[in-house]
């Protein structure tokens, strides 16, 4: 067990709490930098997907995990970002400007969607974002002059002021850079007054309000930041697949995004990454084990749905803090060996809190 004696304020807000953190995160960064030479092309592509989904997961984690607002239509922001970026890139706009426009437009759309969030709560907000997601999907499919309709559009390679990123490895580094920037951005945001305000709103709106937090302002801000990150992820997603169509941004994608953060662990930045890893590796794992199952089960098209659903149910029931919570428990067990008690992370039983009276 490590005891940290804090003697300075800088220590208290520092990103790395102790040498252990510095060591392990540096190792991780080195590993990610060396990944193109360590992994095969296929796994590098999967890793790129993990990075792209991590950016989206960070955004939705900020919204759902830290501000306590749930969006059931987050794929719409992904779609807005992807389409804006694709259209601009095909017009010859350089990558950084197109990316900024994609993030900006997504954020603007997020602001608009955030507006009902000021009036409605809980499940009604879910409904509003769900409806919004459907409307965006329909607009993407019908606005054929710009989006190409259901036929979708192809997107050119990223072009950073004349320097075209041709290879997969170059694109991987681009994703890595953007992921690192967004992660550091989110971590910094969370230790700033703004981030603290988000967490206060999540824990209790009434107490946050009485502490002088302007609910409307912070809620729309959270929506806008979250949507901007989804827009960035959407832009990278469009480049990675090189082809986008409206049905990639439907309700199932929105649910996948939520599933990612619930399984990763709500309310932790680690959770966003663990969730993204889960979402990308799960289909591979299912494909691996499929052959061992009887043909009726193994070859059924619904197998993936059953596994996803079952894993989701299991996590909500038994591990509400997700993969990151599981890791925390394992770590605490070893740190405190042999003094770990079963009830240390036990959820408090609460009486039914009525949403209707909020």
């Amino acid at each position: 067990m490590r005891f940290i004696f804090k003697t300075e304020y800088a220590q208290d807000i520092g990103l790395a709490k102790h040498e252990g953190h510095t060591f392990w995160y540096s190792t991780l960064v080195l590993l990610l930098l060396g990944a193109p030479w360590l992994f095969t092309e296929y796994w590098l592509a999967q890793l790129t997907f993990v990075l792209i989904y991590s950016i989206a997961a960070l955004g939705i984690m900020l919204l759902a995990g830290f501000t306590g607002l749930f969006s059931l239509g987050h794929a719409a922001f992904l779609g807005v970002g992807a389409y804006t970026h694709a259209v601009l890139t095909n017009m010859g706009v350089p990558f950084p400007i197109a990316l900024a426009c994609a993030a900006g437009l997504s954020a603007a759309v997020g602001l608009v969607v955030g507006l009902p969030a000021l009036r409605v709560k809980g499940i009604y907000l879910g409904m509003a974002t769900l409806s919004f997601g459907f409307i965006v999907e329909e607009v993407l499919a019908r606005w054929e002059s710009v989006t190409g309709g259901n036929a979708g559009i192809h997107i050119k390679k990223p072009n950073v002021f004349g320097w075209v990123l041709e290879t997969e490895i170059q694109f991987y580094f681009l994703c890595l850079l953007l992921t690192m920037v967004s992660t550091l951005g989110i971590l910094n945001l969370l230790r700033s007054p703004t981030g603290r305000a988000f967490v206060a709103i999540r824990d209790s709106e009434i107490s946050a309000q009485s502490m002088g937090i302007h609910l409307a302002q912070y809620k729309t801000m959270s929506f806008a930041i979250s949507a901007a990150l989804a827009g960035v992820a959407g832009a990278l997603y469009a480049h990675k697949l090189q082809f986008i169509s409206p049905d990639q941004f439907n309700i199932l994608q929105s649910i996948d995004l939520l599933l990612m953060i619930v399984i990763g662990g709500l309310g932790s930045v680690h959770g966003a990454f663990l969730g993204a890893i889960f979402l990308i590796t799960m289909p591979q794992l299912i494909a691996l084990f499929k052959d061992f199952l009887p043909a009726v089960v193994g070859q059924a098209p619904g197998l993936q749905g059953v596994v996803y659903g079952a894993v989701l149910i299991a996590f909500v029931l038994f591990e509400p803090m997700g993969l990151y919570g599981r890791w925390l428990k394992i770590r605490t067990y070893f740190e405190m060996f042999p003094f770990y008690r079963k009830g240390m992370f036990k959820r408090q039983k609460s009486f039914q809190k009525s949403d209707r009276l909020k």
């Binding site: 759902a64 749930f70 507006l115 009902p116 009036r119 409605v120 809980g122 499940i123 009604y124 879910g126 409904m127 509003a128 769900l130 409806s131 919004f132 459907f134 409307i135 329909e138 499919a141 019908r142 009434i206 309700i251 649910i255 939520l258 599933l259 619930v262 009726v296 089960v297 059924a300 098209p301 619904g302 197998l303 993936q304 749905g305 059953v306 596994v307 996803y308 659903g309 079952a310 894993v311 989701l312 149910i313 909500v316 029931l317 509400p320 959820r347 039983k349 609460s350 009486f351 039914q352 809190k353 009525s354 949403d355 209707r356 009276l357 909020k358």
Partner: protein
């Protein structure tokens, strides 16, 4: 004439939405949770009817009855197995849980060989029959939907108004703790609410099946029933049916009079406007938290 034709098909479609929304509202009122698995329960009900009729060779009424009863059992089992342990947790956990239940239900259905992956027609006695009334051409399937919804509404109204069970459910939905102190078995009531919701959903499925066929993805219609529940006000049973009718009619008319694309989004546009203008819905109760 065109107008009345649209009116009737809109009402019929609206009744289906209303019935599914009724399931949401029943569960929401009883347990304060929102079930995203309602569409899938409807799909399971339709498949139950299909299996009972085509494979077990039951007569129509017996098949309907057994499918509905089986689904009521499934609903109660779902409540006992997965919902009860996490009651009192944040609403979002339960939403994710029911999404998981929906995924599992849809996946399991496609695993059944020969049935799950195909699109089948439910062999009902009134299939493809048409009534002519003046210049109107009435599809019997639509009329059956409307009539069955009406009967079901009367039955539910009677249940909640006159039976001990219904009154106990009302009490529990107003204040669970107080109801529990009065000796009402709240846990058992929650199971019954889920069973009732699943039964209503399966009736909706059986009514919808002759119109749209039975397939594993028919549960997605449940996503259209959410707007119905919101428009009506999430905590109101008559509101769910009225909301369903509103959504069904808006959809039918916008599909005819407005350009392409509005038919699928009309429901969502209506719900967004509703949330902006009147977040509590048409019949929703308006309560403020007092500090």
């Amino acid at each position: 004439m065109q107008f009345f034709q649209l009116l009737i098909s809109g009402v019929a479609q609206g009744c289906i939405y209303g019935l599914i929304a009724l399931g949401f509202v029943l569960i929401y009122k009883a347990t304060e949770t929102v079930s995203f698995a309602q569409g899938e329960l409807m799909m399971l009900g339709a498949f139950g009817g299909l299996v009972a009729m085509t494979m077990l060779g039951m007569p129509y009424w017996l098949a309907i009855l057994s499918a509905v009863l089986a689904m009521a059992l499934v609903g109660a089992l779902i409540e006992m197995a997965v919902i009860r342990p996490i009651l009192g947790q944040p609403a979002f956990s339960i939403v994710m849980l029911t999404i998981g239940v929906g995924y599992v239900a849809r996946g399991l259905i496609t695993m059944i060989p020969n049935i799950g992956t195909d699109t089948q027609a439910l062999p009902v006695p009134y299939k493809d029959e048409i009534w002519k009334l003046g210049g109107l051409i009435l599809n019997v399937e639509h009329m059956v939907v409307i009539a069955a919804t009406g009967v079901l509404c009367v039955l539910l109204f009677a249940l909640f108004r006159y039976s001990k069970l219904g009154i106990a459910m009302q009490a529990a939905s107003q204040n669970q703790l107080a109801a529990y102190y009065m000796g009402i078995p709240v846990k058992r009531l929650n199971s019954i609410a889920w069973a009732l919701a699943a039964a209503v959903a399966s009736i909706a499925g059986l009514l919808l099946a002759p119109i749209t066929f039975v397939h594993a993805n028919m549960g997605f219609i449940g996503l259209k029933a959410f707007p119905a529940a919101v428009v009506g006000g999430f905590g109101s049973l008559p509101g769910a049916i009225v909301g369903g009718l509103v959504i069904g009619l808006v959809e039918a008319f916008s599909g005819f009079y407005l350009p392409d694309g509005f038919k699928d989004t009309a429901a969502y546009i209506v719900v967004l406007v509703m949330l902006m203008v009147r977040p509590n819905g048409l019949f929703g109760e308006k309560l403020r938290k007092k500090v």
